[in-house]
Amino acid sequence: MADSTHMDVSYIAHLARIHLTDGETKLFQGQLDQVLTYVEQLGELDVSNVEPTAHAMALVNVLRDDMPRASLDHDAAIANAPAARDGQILVPKILE
């Protein structure tokens, strides 16, 4: 298993794009270290000759002809946007 059962919660939260308060960071640190210690038990098993399972059913590519067809109406698609103008979703400036 991993060499450590201690996670850098602040760094991982940054990767996950979630701002945490100091209180949350401290709370999750203890709770998640406990979970990581628990999952250490998977290290007991010899899995060197075992294939990983990503899906319970074997998945195959599903292809269809690339034909135009009706989809969600434009207005309906952006009706839930928190900010929109002229039929487009508004976002903060990305480039100066």
Binding site: M1, Q31, L45
Partner: protein, 488 residues
């Protein structure tokens, strides 16, 4: 006819067919029950009375015009993560507060075609992450059998609404036990179909390789009716399986004999620390099945004890990717920031509750550079071992009998401060999702304190017919499912 809300789908379907009641009357009785006691139970997040009555009227008109069907005019409660066009779909999260579904999930579209009435949205753990419905951002749902106790989760609102006769039947979703466990805690029937049986299109994704939609009902027959209506290949979900859907409900015979069936008893499912009342109720149910003619065989699922560790790695990894879409840009909550990165961080901080944040962080960690092989890849390999255990077991039996949960419903607040403790309670349900097989929860007794206990019946992939047959025979020769909670 009074109290139509207390009846089953099959009973109501007969009454409707015979012209002894209307869909509008059924909906009115369900609404009356909600008005009378949902203030105490808190199963529903939103109820669309006007639309429900309009749908019921339309169903009555369609019937008068010659349309038929077991679900025509039957009102259903829908877990708040399944998209029903024009209704909210919040996943019990602040990040989706105010969201209106622009389309029907495929399962919903099929039920709509069959004439079902979508009456309201029921509470759940936020994004289906939890086992008690306490992680909902909006309200605490209570167990109708004892309102100091949790209804289970994550489909706690679904189970509570059915148990309290505030719904004729409900839909839930099951990623690690989220249909079977609340059904057991509330004394209902809950079915997790085989992975791929029902299209997941329009089901808000938690862990895509584990999620399945399924019914929570008052009887096994009702679960069979709903399964049949929702099952089948859908081009919008490439993991849905192309197979002819059996006539599940008609296949349930009235002889209630289990002669010729082999039922497996896995020793690993009678775990240390299991409540003695749960163990006794399940062992009594096994004896009962033997009396109905089944042959009981011992089976072994040796990797069961690793299921929780595997589940909480795989499910959180998939969740961390699936929930990346809630970024404040296209829908839902937005907290403005100087740039998009700050906007994402602030939006997700304000929109997600603690359990969802914990799981996204854990999932991000197990997928992160340097830890992927040690956690995620290893978990996927152990998943193979868990799946192989079932493959071997089903060579020896037609179905497996087990408890659903190690204990009956616990008290509200009892486990909220200890996430790992809450996770460990999923030990008997998560292996089923990891293996992709089907599982049914059927009422099999009560604790001395009056809380329901569930019997879990597991079947091989696409062998729903077997578990429905066992469940139906057991249920129809016992009376547990007929008991109802009392309301003061």
């Amino acid at each position: 006819m009074a109290n139509l809300n207390t009846k089953t789908i099959s009973e109501l379907s007969d009454l409707l067919e015979q012209g002894k009641c209307t869909s509008v009357e059924i909906v009115n009785d369900v609404l009356a029950a909600i008005d009378a006691r949902d203030g105490k139970i808190n199963a529903y997040l939103t109820i669309d009375r006007t639309s429900a009555l309009a749908q019921a009227e339309a169903a009555d008109k369609a019937r008068a015009a010659g349309k038929k069907g077991a679900l025509l005019g039957i009102p259903l409660a829908i877990k708040d993560l399944l998209n029903v066009k024009g209704q909210p779909c919040t996943c019990s999260s602040k990040i989706l507060e105010g969201y209106t579904a622009p389309y029907d999930a495929t399962a919903i579209a099929k039920l709509r075609e069959a004439g079902a009435v979508f009456l309201g949205r029921v509470n759940m753990d936020e994004f289906a992450m939890g086992s008690s419905t306490e992680s909902s951002a909006f309200k605490k749902t209570r167990n109708p059998w004892n309102t100091d106790h949790v209804p289970g989760g994550s489909s706690g609102g679904s189970a509570a609404s059915v148990a309290a006769d505030e719904a004729v039947a409900a839909l839930g979703s099951d990623t690690g036990g989220s249909i079977r466990q609340p059904a057991a805690f509330c004394g209902c029937v809950g079915l997790k179909p085989t992975y791929g049986m029902i299209s997941r299109y329009g089901l808000t994704a938690f862990a895509s390789s584990l999620d399945q939609i399924g019914p929570i009902t008052k009887t096994v027959e009702d679960s069979a009716i709903l399964l049949e209506a929702m099952a089948g290949k859908d081009e919008m979900d490439s993991t849905s399986i192309d197979l002819s859907v059996p006539d599940f409900a008609k296949d349930l015979t009235d002889d209630h004999s289990l002669k010729g069936m082999k039922l497996g008893l896995p020793k690993e499912y009678f775990v240390e620390g299991m409540d003695s009342e749960v163990e006794k109720a399940v062992r009594d149910a096994v004896e009962h099945c033997k009396k109905l003619g089944a042959e009981i065989v011992q089976v072994s699922l040796p990797h069961s004890k690793y299921a929780i560790a595997v589940y909480y790695i795989i499910a959180t990894a998939e969740a961390s990717a699936n929930l990346a879409r809630f970024d404040g840009i296209r829908y839902g909550l937005r907290k403005d920031g100087a740039d998009p990165i700050e906007l994402y961080g602030k939006t997700r901080a304000a929109g997600f509750g603690p359990e969802v944040k914990r799981r996204i962080i854990l999932g991000t960690y197990v997928l992160s550079s340097g830890y992927y092989d040690a956690y995620y890849l290893r978990a996927q390999k152990v998943r193979t071992l868990i799946r192989n255990d079932f493959v071997e077991a089903f060579k020896q039996c037609d179905a497996i009998l087990a408890p659903v949960t190690p204990t009956p419903a616990y008290k509200i607040g009892e486990k909220t401060n200890d996430p790992l403790k809450m996770y460990l309670d999923d030990i008997l349900t998560t292996p089923v999702n990891l293996a992709g097989i089907c599982g049914l929860s059927v009422p099999c007794g009560f604790s001395k304190a009056g809380l329901p206990i569930g019997l879990q019946i597991l079947g091989d992939s696409f062998k729903e017919v077997n578990i429905l047959k066992v469940g139906h025979a057991y249920e129809q020769t016992t009376t547990w499912h007929k008991q109802r909670p009392e309301f003061s």
